[in-house]
Symmetry: C2
Subunit: 145 residues, 2 copies
DNA sequence: TTCACTGCAAATAGTTTGCACATAG
DNA sequence: CTATGTGCAAACTATTTGCAGTGAA
């Protein structure tokens, strides 16, 4: 699926930042690396910070918050509302939607093509440009239905 | 659109509660009435409580939280994640979808058929039974795009 | 060298909970 | 009457912010 290996994906993003005159810091590299490394776990912000601090304990939770906000402004990261009180982040290239089972909490990654018709019809019929990036679909998974 | 006037809708819900052996209290009636009355405003929980307290100042915010939770357990109310930190509630019968412009706040009512393909494919491809009631689609309307 | 970034502590916002009193049935 | 619901205050959780020191370019 990925045309480019993970490590260089992080480097690509850092290079992009540099080319915009942005600074590349330890915290920014660490956050991007963690998002790539743990991408399948849908970690919340605090848990993401815990993982980062296993290797770099000097990186403070508030820095993780600020860095995620910054990376989102730069368009490198998106956020998703996974459950009631958890927000999860992922790098923009891994853009996907989620379905979360209301019963067991299991999250499913959804292919963006599922939303093509919806997006197109919203545009055609309502002139509405949908931003589906931080939507999570609730419901019941096969096991819990 | 509504086959039954609003007032009796609230009474219907209260009757249903009674028929289940549940108690009908001042707070439960007040919350349901407010949800019906202000249904077009997509109020967050705190603002909903403020409106209720205009008439019934003795109804505490924590009671509104508890009552909404209770009504949701009873299936009379659903919640929607509107923005980052705001959760909004509406009575279950008003099972509408809409798209809300992130810029001007204008809301579009959406035909449920828009979601047919999505719902069907979630079921076919993931065995997932989607509960779309909690979703609001964000984005830009034609005027603000 | 300089200004953006970060660590830390403290503030804030939204939500939940324990307990004693009130009230629906 | 008695179990359930509510008011209130206080606790909690997630997130944000002010400030002074640090580090990337």
């Amino acid at each position: 699926m990925a045309a480019v290996p993970d490590r260089s994906h992080v480097e690509d993003m850092l290079t992009l930042l540099r080319s915009r005159g942005q600074r590349v810091t330890t915290a920014r590299r660490a956050v991007l690396e963690a998002l790539v490394r743990y991408r399948d776990e849908h970690l919340g912000t605090e848990e993401l910070a815990v993982r980062i601090r296993r290797d770099q304990p000097e990186i403070h939770l508030s820095t993780v918050y600020r860095t995620l906000e910054y990376l989102e402004e730069q368009g490198l990261v998106h956020h998703v509302h996974l459950a009631h009180r958890a927000v999860s982040h992922h790098v923009a290239r891994d853009h996907h939607q989620h379905a979360v089972c209301d019963h067991c909490g299991k999250a499913f990654d959804l292919d963006l093509s599922l939303f093509d018709e919806l997006t197109r019809r919203l545009a055609d019929e309502h002139g509405f440009t949908a931003e589906l990036g931080h939507i999570t679909i609730g419901g019941r998974c096969a096991d819990c239905a």
